[in-house]
């Protein structure tokens, strides 16, 4: 009987009680690859004593787990903080009324350009889109220098991009639609397809195919390229569109949001401040070559500095909206 009380009744009562009692924990859902996000969250736990309960997912498989959870849990949120690898998903949550604005001294350190206007999401540590290539299959001086060179018949069937419906590729394409206008962007995509572009399952798949020597080059993110370089000496990467008249390369910050009506909002705010700190940016620069957004943050030598890259100038919120608008067309394009 005692065992029954201990094992069944007490947990039920404690469970019910925990619904309203404040706790020394924070629940974070993240689509940033666990291999990079977990150490940061563990450090936060050590430094603050606040227990972090995380749900991990990955852009690689479209963040389905956390995004669908957040949307389905809207009326009784379990999550306090959502940490995403790019602002698109935070934009979707904002449009569904799931996030809450948050501003602190720490958020003000982040350049305005990388924050939502009401601080529904705040950016930090950014990745960029790069061209990864296999040195055995293509010489550095033969590489395309612009994303628009992907339609050049000289590269026919030699390169891959990830499915534009998912991950950072979708954001990249939306940014190009913003820059070029719908008509020109659609034409470029159709020409690229006519040039036998391989549509890979994900950025990780692009990386693996180039590393294995299946394809000469492909479009991916800096963290994938950084990992590929660590794994193989045959791989390197370059930034595209760096010439004076070019459009520049897309920069994608991580984005963090406070969830509306969350149970541990105060702890959530502490975690957000921690993620937006210089220390976290340094950690992410070391672990996955992410570029700090806070000016003056020291970075390792092999990590590119944002100051030295020509960035594509875009409005992240408008690009998120554009993304929703072009998704049906992208779906048709990918399935054609």
């Amino acid at each position: 009987m005692k065992r029954f009380l201990n094992n069944i009744i007490l947990p039920v009562i404690l469970g019910l009680a925990s619904c309203s009692a404040p706790s020394d924990e924070v629940v974070v859902y993240t689509s940033v690859d666990q291999v990079f996000s977990e150490p940061v969250l563990k450090d936060f736990e050590k430094e603050t004593g606040i227990r972090v309960r995380a749900v991990y997912d990955t852009e690689e498989t479209k963040s389905t787990g956390v995004m669908n959870r957040l949307i389905a849990e809207k009326n009784n949120p379990q999550c306090d903080v959502f940490w995403s690898g790019d602002p698109v998903r935070n934009g979707v949550l904002l449009s569904k009324g799931i996030t809450e604005p948050y501003q602190s001294k720490q958020t003000l350190l982040i350049p305005e350009h990388f924050r939502e206007k009401d601080n529904h999401w705040i950016g930090f540590s950014a990745r960029a889109r790069v061209l990864i290539y296999n040195k055995n299959l293509i010489a550095a001086d033969s590489l395309p220098q612009s994303i628009f060179d992907f339609t050049d018949p000289a590269y026919k069937g030699q390169f891959a991009i990830a499915n534009p419906l998912f991950g950072t590729t979708t954001f990249h394409i939306a940014a190009l639609f913003m820059k070029l206008g719908d008509e020109k962007a659609k034409q470029w995509m159709n020409n690229m397809k006519a040039n036998d572009a391989v549509i890979a399952a994900s950025n990780g798949d692009v990386k693996k195919r180039v590393m294995n020597g299946e394809l000469a080059f492909g479009l991916t993110d800096t963290d994938d390229a950084f990992e590929a370089k660590k794994e193989s000496d045959n791989v390197d990467y370059i930034f595209l569109d760096q010439q004076k008249s070019s459009i520049g390369t897309l920069i994608m910050p991580n984005a963090v949001s406070l969830i509306k009506n969350s149970r541990n909002a105060e702890n959530g705010k502490q975690l957000i401040d921690y993620l937006l700190s210089r220390e976290t940016e340094v950690k992410l620069a070391v672990s996955c070559a992410q570029m700090p957004l806070i000016k003056g943050t020291p970075v390792p030598e092999n990590v590119p500095s944002l100051d030295k890259i020509k960035a594509m100038k875009i409005d992240y919120d408008k690009t998120s909206n554009k993304l929703e608008e072009i998704q049906p067309w992208l779906k048709q394009w990918a399935e054609k």
Partner: protein, 518 residues
């Protein structure tokens, strides 16, 4: 009078409980979908393009199911009906592909193709998807067909062989006798293949399941995705109902034969050919993917096994604990449901388990979130209890059918004789039924453990924050970790599963001896 009430409670309570725990979440989701979406959205999936996609997906799944059932039947015939060396080892080895996830299979085969031929374009096609599904799912067919072939009474075959040649006897006697098992094998593999997202997505093949996934994860169009899921569910249910006779009564996954002996044939001149054939299959379904994983795990700049183990240790421990609890739950509920179906004639709970079995994982996950994510039941939603419920929904049907077939093999006369002697029902159940059911319970236990340990689709949606599950850990780490680390983690996960299966079989051997009269 008292006995009647007890029987009534045993009949009604499980139906009610299952309905409240698993049926109602799906109904609530369906009602929300019907009530929330506009009529145009509700019907927007009913167009020519969608129907063509359903047709294409069905065709691919049918091809995989046909090939897998054929391969499984050939293997089962060789291993269960022919007398030659090492059949036990072959049986066990050919079951191991069930422990490898279809996605890992796809990656290994793609890399294998490139490694062998320098080009893997051919595998990025419908043929690639069908090939992988055939290789992954044929062990299921082998299990089912092996069980059916073992149940054929030797006297039928012997009588046939007296008047007709061997080949004709196979066609005229054996084939009709195993037809229900062939049907259930085909249908189960068809449903598994139809609902798998990972392989077609990896090979860039558009199927109805990838379409549903795209609606959920790229467009966040819940109404359309749920509508499409309802259509998929309808297709699966239609198939199932069309064959309901077979599904309910087919002898699938029976693990022992009571009261009959199966005939085995000697094939002296064919020994080398048969060993060659089985080895070829072993290379294709086991050695090739495992070899690719080993090569990949050794191909990094450093050895990652120790790092992989450090990453996996906690998740492996938590997963094994959860899988054991889930296995106990599935076996107990499976026994209960099977008993009330076979002995009390109540089919409803089994139909409900069939429904939750064929619902796409994403839909089941979202239904559970919407139903259980309330402050008052947070002790379910915020804990691993939600995962136990999810696994019950995903695999309860399989456990129930394995045990149900065991129950059907026990002659009712045994229970009737005990009843006449005035022995109480519970004592009859404990002293007669349970010992006789031991092999079926054991098979349900092992299969439930394997399935629970590897489940990813619903786990991804409902696993409680702060906990770690082995498939989730591999899934999230593999996104950006070196290939050598990911492959090392997969090999460790495989080793953990094989280790526990080995332990279960050792325990089973001891217990089988104890209950040998069963």
């Amino acid at each position: 009078m008292g006995r009647k009430i007890v029987r009534h409670i045993i009949r009604v309570v499980p139906s009610l409980l299952l309905f409240l725990l698993l049926g109602l979440p799906l109904i609530v989701l369906l009602l929300q979908w019907l009530g929330g979406a506009e009529r145009s959205v509700l019907l927007s999936f009913m167009n020519r393009e969608t129907l063509l996609l359903v047709g294409k997906s069905l065709l691919m799944a049918c091809s995989a199911a046909l090939l897998a059932t054929f391969t499984g039947t050939v293997c089962a015939f060789i291993l269960y009906k022919l007398r030659f060396a090492f059949t036990g080892i072959y049986k066990l080895a050919l079951l191991l592909p069930l422990l490898i996830s279809p996605y890992i299979f796809a990656v290994a085969w793609k890399d294998g193709f490139f490694w062998l031929f320098g080009n893997n374009a051919a595998i990025y096609s419908e043929v690639g998807v069908i090939l992988i599904h055939t290789l992954v799912f044929f062990p299921l067919a082998m299990l089912i067909m092996g069980s059916a072939l073992s149940r054929i009474d030797a006297s039928y075959e012997e009588a046939g062989l007296m008047v007709i040649p061997f080949g004709k006897m196979l066609v005229k006697i054996v084939l009709p006798l195993i037809r229900p098992a062939l049907t259930i094998s085909f249908l189960l593999i068809l449903i598994f293949s139809l609902s798998d997202f990972s392989v077609p997505a990896f090979f860039g093949e558009r199927t109805f399941t990838t379409e549903i996934f795209t609606q959920f994860s790229a467009l966040y169009n819940f109404p359309l995705a749920i509508g499409q899921s309802v259509l998929l569910l309808f297709v699966c249910l239609l198939l199932m109902l069309a064959e309901t006779r077979y599904l309910s009564d087919a002898p699938f996954f029976s693990v022992s034969v009571k009261g009959s002996g199966s005939k085995k044939y000697k094939m002296r001149n064919w020994q080398v050919f048969l060993h060659g054939l089985l080895w070829l299959l072993l290379i294709l379904v086991l050695l090739m993917p495992v070899l690719m994983l080993v090569i990949q795990s050794l191909s990094g700049k450093a050895l990652f096994f120790s790092e992989a183990w450090m990453l996996m240790r906690s998740a492996a421990l938590q997963s094994v604990k959860l899988a054991l609890w889930s296995t106990l739950l599935l076996t107990s509920v499976g026994l209960w449901m099977a008993y009330i179906k076979e002995r009390l004639g109540n089919r409803l709970p089994n139909l409900l388990l069939l429904l939750t079995f064929i619902v796409p994982s994403t839909v089941l996950g979202i239904a559970l979130i919407k139903y259980y994510n309330l402050p008052v039941v947070n002790f379910v939603y915020g804990t691993t209890a939600i995962l136990l419920l999810a696994y019950l929904g995903k695999f309860g049907f399989i456990a129930s059918r394995i045990i149900g077939n065991g129950i059907r093999q026990i002659p009712v006369s045994l229970e009737e004789a005990a009843l006449v002697m005035g022995i109480p029902s519970w004592k009859i159940f404990v002293k007669i039924n349970l010992p006789l059911l031991f092999p079926s319970l054991f098979a349900a236990f092992v299969l439930s453990f394997i399935l629970s340990l590897g489940e990813l689709g619903v786990t991804m949606l409902v696993y409680p924050p702060g906990t770690e599950q082995m498939p989730m850990k591999i899934f999230t780490i593999s996104a950006n970790a070196p290939q050598a680390l990911t492959s090392s983690m997969t090999l460790i996960s495989l080793a953990v599963t094989v280790f526990f299966i080995g332990v279960f079989f050792l325990c089973g051997k001891i217990l089988f001896k104890k209950f040998r009269y069963a």
